[in-house]
Symmetry: C2
Subunit: 320 residues, 2 copies
């Protein structure tokens, strides 16, 4: 089968690619072609002749159509992140909304009904939120990123209902710990507060110690992508969106977890330098998740912050 | 002030135009220009020099920008109706989604923050619905029309949050009784079952007598547009969408109400001829509405089917 990952050179795209290559199959079908479509060039699994990297632009319908021709499964991860979508409304609309429409349109035709895993976000929720959100919490996003993601969820549901695709949407909590350089995601600090001090780098947290985030580790996120792809069509039914679980941690709790993992030297590298713009976005996000649908269907998230940090150390620091 | 109605030559657009012209003002400000933008030509209030009709296409950004320049308030009613959006996915996406984006973009700029009343629909709800829906019922539309409307609701909310517009969305029940010829709305029979027999025309109802619809009269719909435009910005807050109230009637009840209004002659003109495609769409729609938000803010719908039918007779049959 041919599998395409948009945003395939991004951090989660690479991890998913490595997982799929290691599995060698998706839903019991051998993967003979894995296409990584990204606006950036990159090298994933060099020498593995199943892999093809394609540099291109989600906003170009012809490029997207070319890449998705004959795809049996698509993981659509490519997007403008939340901070940047907030800075530049038009860019977010072009990439996150029009880009996703290009993906949907490119999946049509030829009698096929490709599997599409779409990555939405807990930014789908916002405004006057209950302390704990679940799948049925009203969708009133308080960021442009969230609004664009929900708009696309509707199209994924509709294209699925019409029999054009077999769509599944996962609403992701903040992914932490991300390796590498900070990006423009407003949630970036939830990774930086662990990654930087454990790498010997000072880190200024832009939100208050009492601020909390709901996080999911990269390992479990990739597990979630593969898991949702494997659910029976009829199990999902009409509503194609599933909120993935996350654990809640305040920044103060993150500091203490960093101290347990890396000692006082690491914890003391963390300072707090308030950024009202980031604080305002983060204050609009949920405090806790009850991922009832995912749990009912057998998917479990991370158990503790310490486990999340240990996985980061094993996968990114020790491996590097 | 300058007010624009998209779909201004359509049935509800005309009624709204006549109401605004009679009021002479919106939210206490005199209306000196009322622009009716529609793909069809038409003549509303001939001789009234406040009115300008513009024939054009919502999918053309330049035309929309031209018409909305300097608009202080926009009632965005123009759309492809549900049946047609179901028949032609791409047409629905172009008009209902891209067209609304054109309207939103045309409202930007120049430091103004125009009022935008957007018409969504109870088609925003669908799938595995509770017997009674309210504002907070999950948005899982079961038609392309509904999916496109919800996608736009998200953009209206986001553009409002960003301070680009002062957006308000009303989710309309099925409007009944519509005058004139049947259109391609899947809900058209809810008007036809009253309009045709009372006009001496035979009518074949495409859904079973037990099938129910939630309806709002044109009079109350227009009241709702003007009412929502007048709500204080802070009353609405972050969530800009309000479900309008509707009353529930089965087709059998409609037949009896027609009998009360027009006698056996009228009622006997109604027959039932099942259309599985229409039935399937209608079965995905809510059975009853608890319009809690609208009620809490003081808006009341129709009281009885007989009242709805009497208004139709007075406004459309007696007047004509």
């Amino acid at each position: 089968m041919k599998v395409v990952i948009t945003g395939g050179i991004g951090f989660l795209g690479r991890k998913l690619a490595e997982r799929l290559l290691a599995d060698g199959a998706l839903n019991g079908q051998a993967i003979d072609r894995l296409v990584l479509f990204d606006r950036l060039a990159g090298d994933v699994a060099p020498g593995d002749d199943r892999v093809l990297t394609v540099v291109g632009d989600l906003t170009d319908p012809d490029q997207v159509t070319g890449v998705l021709a004959d795809a049996d499964a698509v993981f659509h991860l490519g997007a403008i992140v939340s901070g940047q979508a907030e800075e530049d409304l038009d860019l977010g609309l072009r990439v996150n909304l029009d880009g996703t429409r290009n993906v949907l349109q490119a999946c049509r035709g030829g009698g096929r009904r490709p599997l599409l895993v779409f990555t939405s976000s807990i930014a789908a929720y916002g405004g006057d939120l209950p302390q704990t959100i679940d799948d049925a919490t009203p969708l009133t996003p308080a960021t442009s990123y969230g609004a664009q993601k929900v708009a696309c969820e509707m199209l994924v549901m509709d294209f699925t209902r019409r029999g054009l695709i077999d769509g599944r949407t996962v609403r992701l909590p903040t992914i932490s710990v991300r390796p590498g350089k900070p990006n423009k995601a407003a949630s970036g600090f939830a990774s930086g507060i662990v990654r930087e001090p454990l790498s010997g780098v000072d880190f200024a947290c832009p939100v208050t110690p009492e601020s909390s985030m709901v996080i999911l580790s990269p390992r479990r996120a990739v597990d979630g992508f593969v898991w949702v792809a494997g659910l029976a069509d009829e199990t999902l039914g009409h509503d194609r969106s599933i909120l993935l679980p996350g654990i809640t941690a305040t920044m103060a709790q993150m500091v203490e977890a960093v101290r347990r993992a890396g000692g006082d030297d690491a914890a003391n590298r963390i300072s707090f330098k308030h950024d009202p713009a980031i604080q305002s976005i983060v204050d609009g996000w949920p405090r806790a998740i009850a991922a009832r649908r995912a749990a009912g269907l057998g998917f479990a998230g991370d158990r503790t912050i310490d486990e999340v940090i240990a996985a980061f150390v094993a996968d990114e620091l020790t491996a590097a």
